[in-house]
């Protein structure tokens, strides 16, 4: 029997607000444990939450960018459970009345657009962190993260493969980055994902038994864990076995999932509207105001790059897949306007470099080894015939090591292209003298030898000879003495 996979994703995105969702504490990452805390976010007796307005604004931005309906009145609700990282014994979240509902995101799967519907987007507070490996006798709790605002973005079960799941997540992350409401860093946990996975016989509509996958800390983990689960489900069912509804954890070292808790031990969260907070009432004027200030989103930026810079769809897609890449591209263009060359260098050499150095999940331009102004300046030097494409590769590598400008590197290493005919001709004469057999072969009609001779000239000039000029002169020389 053939099976169809059904996947729904739940994403938790940390919002880039200055302060926490219900108190004035800083959201700054990497502070000393419990430095960003106060009586409110540590759940002292008597404290009350006050909703951070920016959180609502960010939720509306996300809702508008994903074609959601924005609720004119929504409620915050308490989700009750005990855990040491949850100071109040409940998480303030949303339940029956979320801020955003019924949206969608279009993703491109093998150049075909597929629509993934969004059930809802709601706001909630993050929990703290339990730390078990610092001391052997006790566990420690760091509440810096407690109260950092989150958006929970829940998709409909419209995703059909691990690959689609990955594309959906990248697209969603890109939208949030474009909106400037989440940095999208999976490693640091500011963009997290749980996956609900089930399979069903192809052609049927009833949903199979689902599992919820947790601990998916990278795009790779999401894809691998889903693939693992699909295999496990199909094998179990094909063997006539039964699946149980459960929560499973991904183990990235052993590349497998294992059961965390089954349905019988599922929490009853006893949601109810938080009586400490009033309903969130959103007026049309505010929505209009936010809509008017929405930035350009990936789809329209892709279209603009294509029309404004005459880029092919493939290039535009890759460049706009992340906001920082598109920003990099456009800031490079300001230095030197050669869109296609810049796009090629980014998609080719820069991406390769990022991958090699495992920087492809780094999200800030400043973390990148080659800055856009330097890349652009280097391309300008190529276009001005100051260096050859081949030398440029060397310059690029040198820039990535040192971060220095291409001009400095070229001056330092004497890489500037030789364009004066006299010295090129001198080198050519040397080559022609050194390879008489090849010269006569060429003259006898073996035209392929030409490339060999050019290679020898470049070698003799350490690659600095202007290749066009060298070609011209060599051709002339070979013809001359015929």
């Amino acid at each position: 029997m053939r099976y169809e996979t059904v996947i729904g994703l739940e994403v938790h995105a940390q919002l880039l607000t200055v302060s926490k969702i219900f108190c004035g504490c800083s959201t700054k990452f990497g502070q000393a444990p419990n430095e960003n805390t106060c009586p409110i976010c540590t759940g002292f007796p008597g404290v009350l939450p006050v909703l951070n307005k920016t959180v609502v604004e960010f939720a509306i931005r996300a809702g508008l960018a994903t074609h959601c309906e924005i609720a004119r009145s929504s409620r915050l609700a308490r989700k009750n459970y005990f855990y040491p990282d949850l100071p109040k014994g409940y998480q303030i979240s949303q339940y029956e009345l979320p801020i955003c509902t019924n949206g969608y995101i279009d993703i491109a799967v093998n150049e075909i657009v597929k629509r993934i519907r969004l059930t809802r987007i709601h706001t909630e507070e993050d929990a703290g962190k339990n730390i078990h490996d610092l001391r052997s006798d006790v566990s420690l709790v760091d509440l810096n993260r407690a109260g950092i605002p989150l958006l929970e973005i829940v998709s409909e079960p419209d995703i059909r493969s691990a690959e689609e799941a990955g594309i959906y997540l990248r697209t969603l992350r890109s939208i949030l980055q474009y909106l400037d409401i989440c940095d999208g860093n999976m490693e640091e946990g500011s963009f997290r994902c749980d996956a609900n996975v089930s399979v069903r016989p192809e052609g049927t509509t009833a949903l199979g038994t689902k599992v919820e996958l947790k601990n998916l800390n990278s795009f790779k983990a999401v894809e691998k864990a889903i693939e693992f689960e699909i295999r496990r489900h199909v094998e179990t069912l094909s063997d006539g076995g039964n699946l149980v509804q459960e929560t499973r954890l991904w183990d990235p070292d052993r590349e497998e999932t294992r059961s965390m808790r089954t349905k019988e031990f599922a929490h009853d969260y006893r949601y109810f509207p938080d009586p400490d907070l009033l309903p969130v009432v959103i007026y049309d004027e505010w929505i209009d105001e936010i809509r008017a200030t929405l930035p350009e989103l990936p789809g329209s930026r892709r279209a603009r790059l294509m029309s404004q810079y005459d880029l092919p769809a493939y290039d535009a897609e890759l460049l706009t897949s992340r906001k920082d890449i598109a920003d990099y591209f456009e800031s490079a263009l300001k230095i030197h306007r050669n869109p296609k060359a810049i796009a090629n260098w980014i998609i080719g050499d820069l991406f390769r470099l990022l991958k090699e150095r495992k920087l492809d999940e780094k999200l800030y331009i400043t973390d990148w080894p080659v800055q856009p102004d330097n890349l652009s300046a280097m391309i300008a030097l190529i276009d001005q015939d100051k260096i050859s494409g081949k030398i440029a590769k060397k310059v690029f590598d040198a820039m990535s090591e040192s971060g220095r400008s291409p001009q400095e590197i070229i001056a330092d290493k004497g890489l500037e292209q030789v364009s004066d005919s006299e010295s090129i001709e001198k080198s050519i004469n040397q080559v022609l003298a050194a390879f008489p057999k090849q010269v006569s072969d060429f003259r006898a009609g073996n035209r392929k030898i030409f490339g060999f001779l050019v290679g020898q000239i470049m070698k003799a000039t350490q690659g600095k000879a202007n290749p066009q000029k060298a070609n011209e002169i060599l051709k002339r020389k070979l013809a001359e003495e015929n």
Binding site: G43, V47, L48, L51, V141, R270, P275, L277
Partner: protein, 485 residues
């Protein structure tokens, strides 16, 4: 006469005229406490040293500063569920027996800004859950009028302290009658303001949608003056109303002519002690003689109030009390793992009534029961609110007994929680509806125990409530009687 018997408004005048100093007044209050506390047990914690220091500062200000600090040098008793920075705050629970708060509640900040002298923290039912004061984890406060009787609850300590002149004014909180019922039992004045009128920030939450801070005082004028200090919008409490707080004392004209007062028939039914019924009826006739118009009204959903209250309040409490988990402050049991730390800390830290309410509330919110209990209760709550809205269209205020009986004997109802819950039958609806209501003395029963009458007003119309209370108080002299201790 002891200096401690004085009211807030008298003390304010006399301090300003330098008839005595704030230190003398504070000393007099502590003297009174040392004479009577053994019989009453009103206080959990006395802050004598800081109080005397505050009194000394007040005296300096009285000498040098002419700006009118509202509570300059006034000794105040605070219920032990207000967080007081640096002063132990127990909420009468073993769980918080040694808890010293890192911050002041908004109301305490206002008292401090008004240069009040905080005498100490008064006893209450644990986590303000109770109607007699007997649920305190530490000891039972006695009613000053009869020390074998309860002072009422949950603000029993503050009410007893005010009645016995162990302070000049007191502060309480009222979730289902916790200010008004003890005020009635102890023969003093207690006001529960409109929900949202006074900030809840820094009071230990019991039921968030009903908790409200209010004064317990020796007379109505003091009540108005205290409300002027504590009322007002607080950005730290999202449920506090962004409305200006009027000068309540200006409404105390003594005139009730033309005011329409509604008498709900559902509040005068079987179960009410005859003396209580008579006293309240007589008080209504007195107001009629003073020029008020009396109207019979109906609040048809009254009979459901207790049931609704014990679902909504316990549901909220079950969640509000989840933070007492032994992790960050308060009691932590020694245990072998996380689950046992939770269960043992809470089993050891909470008393039986608190546990009962946590279980009730947890049940009411559970999957499969939520709709039948919590949601249904919220719907009936809306109907109860509508009853009052309708009634208050044709009258300016409603008068009813505060409690069905006078103070009962210690131990009389502890074995029967339902009987205990019914002692709040007249006060609970007001919390469900969020209205302001004041209890003041309107007589004594044959055993010499005070009877309380409740005046309920429209949302944010404490002024009318206070005006009626003041007019009645001026025409009678119940409040001038003092218990014989």
């Amino acid at each position: 006469m002891s200096l401690a018997e004085i009211t807030l408004h008298e003390a304010r005048e006399k301090l300003r005229r330098r008839e005595f100093s704030a230190q003398e007044l504070t000393e007099a209050v502590f003297r009174r406490i040392s004479e009577t506390e053994e019989k009453l047990h009103s206080y959990i914690t006395l802050s004598r040293d800081t109080a005397l220091r505050e009194a000394k500062q007040a005296d300096e200000l009285l000498r040098t500063d002419t700006s009118p600090h509202s509570l300059l040098g006034i000794p105040i008793a605070v219920k032990d569920n207000f967080l007081t920075r640096g002063i132990r705050t127990t909420c009468a629970s073993k769980f918080l027996e040694n808890f010293i708060p890192p911050y002041d509640s908004t109301t305490i900040k206002k008292l401090r800004a008004g240069c009040a002298v905080i005498i100490g923290k008064t006893n209450l039912d644990e986590f303000a859950m109770g109607s007699s004061g007997e649920n305190s984890a530490f000891f039972v406060t006695r009613n000053p009028w009869a020390t074998d009787r309860v002072p009422g609850g949950s603000s029993g300590g503050s009410a007893a302290a005010v009645a016995a002149d162990q302070c000049i004014v007191g502060l309480g909180t009222d979730t289902g009658g916790s200010i008004r019922q003890p005020a009635a039992f102890c023969g003093v004045v207690g006001l529960k303001p409109t929900y949202g009128r006074v900030s809840r920030y820094g009071i230990i939450a019991f039921a968030s949608s009903m908790d409200q801070v209010g004064p317990i005082t020796k007379d109505v004028r003091d009540c108005a003056l205290m409300l002027e200090v504590i009322a007002g919008y607080d950005p730290a409490d999202s449920t506090s109303a962004n409305l200006p707080a009027p000068q309540y004392s200006a409404s105390l004209t003594g005139d009730v002519k033309g005011l329409r007062i509604g008498i709900p028939k559902e509040y005068f039914v079987s179960g009410i002690q005859p003396a209580v019924q008579q006293a309240v009826r007589e008080a209504v006739r007195q107001l009629e003689r003073n020029g008020a118009t009396i109207i019979d009204i109906s609040l048809p959903h009254t009979e459901f109030a207790v049931a609704v209250y014990y679902i909504v309040a316990t549901a909220e409490a079950s969640s509000n009390l989840a933070r007492y988990d032994g992790m960050r402050y308060g009691h932590r049991a020694s245990a072998k793992d996380l689950t046992e730390t939770y269960t043992s800390s809470r089993a050891e830290g909470f008393g039986p009534e608190v546990k009962r309410r946590i279980m009730l509330g947890t049940y009411a919110l559970s999957a499969g029961y939520y709709d039948a209990y919590y949601l249904k209760a919220q719907k009936v709550r809306t109907l109860i609110k509508k009853d009052f809205d309708e009634a208050l269209k044709c009258c300016d205020a409603i008068i009813a007994p505060t409690a069905p009986t006078t103070a009962f004997k210690i131990g009389e109802k502890t074995q029967d929680p339902l009987q205990m819950y019914l002692s709040d039958i007249y006060t609970i609806s007001v919390n469900l509806a969020g209205l302001p209501a004041l209890s003041l003395p309107c007589g004594f029963d044959s055993e010499g125990l005070p009877i309380g009458m409740q005046i309920i007003g429209r949302h944010f119309d404490e002024s009318t409530v206070l005006a009626i209370a003041y007019a009645y108080e001026q025409s009678m002299d119940w409040g001038k009687r003092k218990p014989d201790l």
